[in-house]
């Protein structure tokens, strides 16, 4: 089946994939399979959480980002840097050196993403006060938004229709450029991303919105560049950097990407929940109306420890979070650009309703879907229900659904194979053929070789 409507932020590199099935087990939407010895992605079901990337032992999953040299298609090149980026180097490399290295890489201006937090706090509190149904769910983490679109369509109306900080900040720099008489075609706004969810969110945003961000750059790539330049002392002397720096940010802004950073700013009762499994557990309860206590706001983040845990962040997430907290402790309550942000951005801060993106598990036509689900239910009764994954699907339930969609066959199940063999309806050689279709020829060849050696 074809699954290719949305921007793919990651890609499986077949030449590196060893078909080990680690990834299929961790995907929260069961969007991965192993077939022909390689992992396959159902892109429509993928929510860009990055879990598969994290567990892949052979680095076969690649982040699809923009070519760095694209920045040079613009005359004025603004880099929006999230606070977690600096927090990876804290105490080791002075901030001015980091900025100068970014300038050397080609950026004309280096700006902090979380500058918009101060304006957002006011807008969010107004929004929550006026909201009909509560809790309001934060629009911050795009992996969570996509999770809700795909797995919890009934909660879609709870998503806050205000842009996340990165988009508000991008809007600010675009407005400022235009108001200064700059040619829009000459401005490039780039985002240094801690995760693939943000890449997908910029490329195919939700809520009837088009992002003014010209390109997304991987944080781990730039981290290594900065570290390398610093170690080799390849950076301008103090005061000789070519970039201009706009790093005014308040303590609110610095704490925003951390777990609790948003919730602590909400008037009323707000919960902060991080980690995909925790988020799913809570949303299940919310959907079933099992949450009886009143809650005004939910800050939900896909990664453990929120953005310090982003897959493109190289620093240890606990240290990065701690560094950020320490910087925030001595940062001002607000910053000099806050008022200007309010004037420039309040008209651009809202987005339209978010559309559901329900998984079509069986069929779009309910007549067909019911029949297929019924068949899958019968298959479930004969499958062993131990979710071993040897068939290439993450669970027996997923295999049953794959079979009725004709994406897999009952023979893929090793337990069924054993049974068929016993009954004489399947020969050993046929069984091996079938396993080769799932796991690839090489796997069995290699095994034999290493055993005979």
């Amino acid at each position: 089946m074809e699954h290719n409507t949305f921007h793919k932020a990651l890609e499986i590199q077949p030449e590196l994939c060893i078909g080990c099935s680690h990834c299929i087990k961790v995907c929260p939407t069961e969007a991965l399979r192993v077939s022909g010895g390689k992992a396959l992605l159902y892109a429509d079901w993928c929510i860009d959480c990055g879990r598969c990337f994290r567990v892949c032992p052979s680095r076969a999953i690649r982040v699809v980002d923009d070519d760095f040299d694209n920045i040079f298609s613009y005359r004025h090149r603004v880099l929006l840097v999230p606070a977690v980026f600096y927090a990876q180097f804290e105490k080791r490399i002075p901030r001015r050196v980091i900025n100068d290295i970014l300038g050397d890489m080609g950026f004309s201006e280096v700006c902090t993403v979380e500058q918009s937090a101060d304006t957002l706090v006011e807008e969010i509190n107004g929004y929550v006060r006026g909201a009909g149904e509560k809790p309001v769910i934060s629009s911050f983490c795009p992996a969570v938004i996509r999770l809700i679109q795909v797995r919890f369509p009934s909660l879609i109306d709870r998503i806050m229709l205000l842009l996340p900080p990165i988009e508000v900040t991008a809007q600010y720099y675009v407005r400022r450029w235009q108001m200064g008489g700059g040619d829009p075609a000459e401005l490039g706004v780039f985002y240094l991303t801690p995760c693939i969810a943000k890449i997908a969110a910029v490329k195919s945003p939700v809520g009837g919105y088009e992002s003014p961000i010209s390109g997304v750059i991987n944080m781990d790539y730039v981290y290594n560049k900065v570290l390398h330049a610093y170690k080799n002392k390849k950076y301008p002397e103090e005061g000789m950097g070519t970039e201009s720096v706009n790093d005014a940010v308040s303590s609110k802004g610095l704490l925003w990407p951390l777990t609790g950073g948003e919730a602590s700013q909400i008037e009323g009762r707000a919960l902060s929940i991080d980690g995909m499994s925790n988020v799913i557990e809570f949303l299940e309860k919310l959907e079933d109306e099992e949450i009886e206590e009143p809650i005004d706001y939910l800050e939900l983040r896909g990664c453990d420890e929120s953005c310090p845990g982003g897959i493109l962040v190289q620093g240890n997430r606990f240290l990065v979070a701690d560094n950020l907290r320490e910087v925030a402790a001595s940062a001002p309550d607000t910053h000099i650009k806050a008022e200007e942000y309010k004037r420039f951005c309040s008209a651009y801060i809202k987005m339209d309703a978010v559309e559901p993106r329900s998984m079509v598990k069986y069929d779009k036509d309910i007549n067909v879907a019911i029949k297929k689900m019924e068949m899958a239910g019968m298959l479930r009764k004969i499958l062993p229900d131990i979710d071993c994954g040897a068939c290439g699907a993450p669970s027996c339930e997923a295999l049953a659904a794959d079979i009725v969609r004709e994406d897999a066959s009952l023979n893929n199940c090793i337990f069924m194979q054993a049974r068929f063999e016993k009954e004489g309806s399947l020969q050993v050689s046929e069984a091996i053929d079938l396993m080769e279709q799932v796991w690839g020829k090489d796997r069995f060849v290699n095994k034999e070789k290493s055993e005979s050696e």
């Binding site: 109306e289 329900s358 779009k364 309910i366 879907a369």
Partner: protein, 136 residues
């Protein structure tokens, strides 16, 4: 397509199992979220009533392309005065049941509100059968 579940009396920890399984199936079939919600509320309340007020029962859900019909049959004391039982706030729930947070007397009214069709057959000393129909 038919889904079936047994419901044990008094087991509040498992009350809701049938309604969440039905919810999962409807979501996977792509039924509109608002409709799924109504089904879940109605079935959940009826399921809790079997747990709280009967000696045990059985749930049969038939999913058709046009809608779902759910029959919840129990053996138990039955309902002597259905009209009274349907009133908001009316409850005969025991003190223990109330202490567990059930027994607000809103179950039957909620079922009525969410179902497109509701039929209650009951015989004192024998049991109760609720038939709920909700259109997609």
């Amino acid at each position: 397509m038919r889904l079936e579940y047994d419901v044990a009396a008094g087991d509040f920890t498992r009350a809701g199992n049938a309604s969440s399984a039905i919810k999962k199936a409807l979501k996977q079939l792509g039924v509109a979220p608002a409709v799924v919600k109504r089904v879940v509320v109605a079935v959940y309340e009826a399921e809790v009533n079997i747990v709280a007020h009967s000696y045990g029962g059985h749930i049969t859900a038939d999913i058709e392309p046009e809608g779902i019909s759910v029959v919840l049959a129990d053996t138990g004391p039955g309902i002597p005065d259905v009209r009274k039982a349907m009133q908001k706030g009316f409850s005969t729930a025991s003190k223990e049941v109330r202490e567990m947070g059930f027994g607000a007397g809103m179950g039957l009214p909620n079922i009525q509100e969410n179902a497109d069709d509701l039929k209650i057959e009951t015989e004192v000393g024998k049991g109760t059968t609720l038939s709920i129909y909700i259109k997609f």
